[in-house]
Amino acid sequence: MLERYALIGLFAFAAITFPILPLVLAFLFRPKKPTRLKQSTYECGIEIQNEAPEAQSIWVQFRVQYYIYAILFVVFDIEVVFVYPWAVATNQMSLFWLLEMAVFILILVGALAYAWRKNLLEWV
């Protein structure tokens, strides 16, 4: 068992070097001629140098929905942590095994229904 995780460790080491290698190779081959225009931030043809500093910022406003979806994600992702051990234990199948998970999932469906009812799932 330990040997398997050691092999995954070896894999992790290889996975880290794998993307660095082509970057180093490209560093040796590629030209490097930076100009002011080339290095400017990409925009749709509008020059941003003469604008006010706020307008140059990338910190555009974001919808609150991103935050709400992240919270909902945490709720359901933690749920999955409990569902997996339950799903593997099919050899202990019984009425209790079934009802236990039904109650657990119904509680979460309740949470989802509440969020739905409160229009939190709407992309406004």
């Binding site: 398997r4 794998f18 993307p19 490209a26 590629r30 990338i58 994600f73 079934l98 998970m101 999932i105």
Partner: protein
Amino acid sequence: MDIWTLITDPFVTIYNLLRSGIIGLLASLGVPPDWIALIVFLIMGIIVVTAILIVAPVMMMYMTWLERKLVARMQDRVGPNRVGPFGLLQPIADMIKFLTKEDIVPEGVDKPVHLLAPIVVVIPVILSFSVIQFGVGMGAVDLNLGLLFLLAMGSMATIGVFMAGFGSHNKFAMIGGMRAAAQIISYEIPQILSVVVVVLLAGSISLNGIIEKQSGLFGLGWYFFYLPVGPIAFFIFLLAATAEINRVPFDLPEAESELVAGYHTEYSGMKFGLFYLAEFLNTFIISAIAASLFFGGWQGPFVQQIPALGIAYFFGKTIILIGIQLWFRGSLPRIRVDQLMNFGWKRLVPATLALILFTAAFLWAYRVLNQFLTGLGG
């Protein structure tokens, strides 16, 4: 050493031969037994890792070729046909181009984050290859938590994508990164939950364990044929997984018409190439997971007699599933962001939750009925 095993199961036989050869060589040199185990583990590990790390990029290169050819045919074009026969050398030309292109780093970017993002995107995809079972006994690691490991690696992609959007100092990249993060975490839930159906059927989360459970008659006992839950779980998985890796029709984070190129707007040269590599390898991994979970991985007719067929079955199934994803790209328009979120949270999540409960109730009822009938018979 007989020829028949070498022909029917070449890779495993050569691996075992090499391993026993190295052990014999080290023993004859008088190396202590503890050291032999360590050295053999390191040498064989490095061979396996190198083999996979050579196969993976080559496969990715020819997936780009396949995508361009197939989509071109769907759009009534010819596709790449200048470099080599049928354009077969096109991916190599592309690679040389990536290597020799200037790497433009715009001023104002968060330099360490901008540099690290493509590396962080690629690492989890490469790690996913460690637990994939390519054939009979041909996985690098047969982890007993293999499926969980794959899903964990799949969700790590969010970090690199968001880093790219955050570090680029560009509105389009920032919006693309935010969208990608929201989309990936939203579709991760139906994806992971639809896999639970297969775990319930198999009673295991080891990838090899799940594949072995699907032997059936002629190796065709695939969970896709497990009516009625198999096909439903597969389609939910395919949709959610396509969204998770940001492919058409769920490619909102890189929607060209509104966001230029999304989170990789400010990337060029080899860094852009790494994002490209990660996207295609992700497509392969997703298809490989779907092939293993719902289509029996290396299972197929006569695979017990001729194990080498397992590799052909596995890659055949995976390539067909990749083809389905390319078919999506050739035929479907991009959906809107509100439709995307609605579909994920209001349709797929309740559907998967209901599907899990239904599968569990079905299995339980089946077992109770079975016990009752055997009780009657006895």
